[in-house]
Symmetry: C2
Subunit: 129 residues, 2 copies
């Protein structure tokens, strides 16, 4: 069966596509991660965002260990079909450091400065093992 | 000379890093493109966004042919150092189709629908050759 969304998605040579997660109501860009076809299919089927972890080479159900899940509000595709924009509702924080967004470092006077503090400790998120 | 920003940037195996362009004041995500070290250096030096075109394998000074330039307002780096978020001021439209954002297709009832119309024709942007 042809799928009118998947038909337009162009995965790269590794079978992956970059996906930007943006908080749907505030517009905050939370993170960039990757999806393979299976992660994208699961995300569309369940409404909970699932990525593909390139380091672990496995599906990465966002929030599975931390509880900080992302609910999909809308899936968007760019003009070339090779990037996804996920409008999400992020529970808690997106970043494994405990910050709301992974983009918490900004260049100021040619230095990188942290512009956001953790809202929760990584130990609380992942346990203190 | 060590550069405190570049020291934290992790380019991929092809020497590239994905860069999200976001309109700085509205929060609209405009596009995702790629930078190599040279494109990133030029962007930081000039304040005008320069990408690396993977299809043309050359620097891509955004707006050079269309006039739709991106002025860099702030450069941000994610926690892993492998994605950039560019807060920009976009002149006109970001997309080569004449739309403000490249992410103009959204999934609705398992179909892709266009949620934004062109503001300017590609012929006007690039000439009617």
């Amino acid at each position: 069966m042809s799928d009118p969304v998947i038909d337009e998605v162009r995965f790269d040579a590794h079978g992956l596509i970059p996906a930007i997660a943006q908080q749907h109501d505030t517009g905050e860009v939370l993170m960039l991660a990757w999806m393979n076809a299976e992660a994208l299919a699961e995300t569309r089927a369940t409404g909970r965002v699932c990525y593909y972890s390139r380091s672990r080479q496995a599906l990465w159900r966002k929030g599975e260990s931390s509880g900080q899940v992302q609910h999909l509000v809308e899936l968007r595709l760019d003009c070339d079909g090779d990037s996804l924009l996920l409008l999400v509702n992020q529970t808690g924080v997106a970043c494994h450091t405990g910050r709301r967004s992974c983009f918490y470092r900004a260049e100021r006077q040619e230095e990188l400065v942290e512009i956001a503090a953790p809202q929760i400790s990584p130990e609380t998120l992942y346990g203190a093992e």
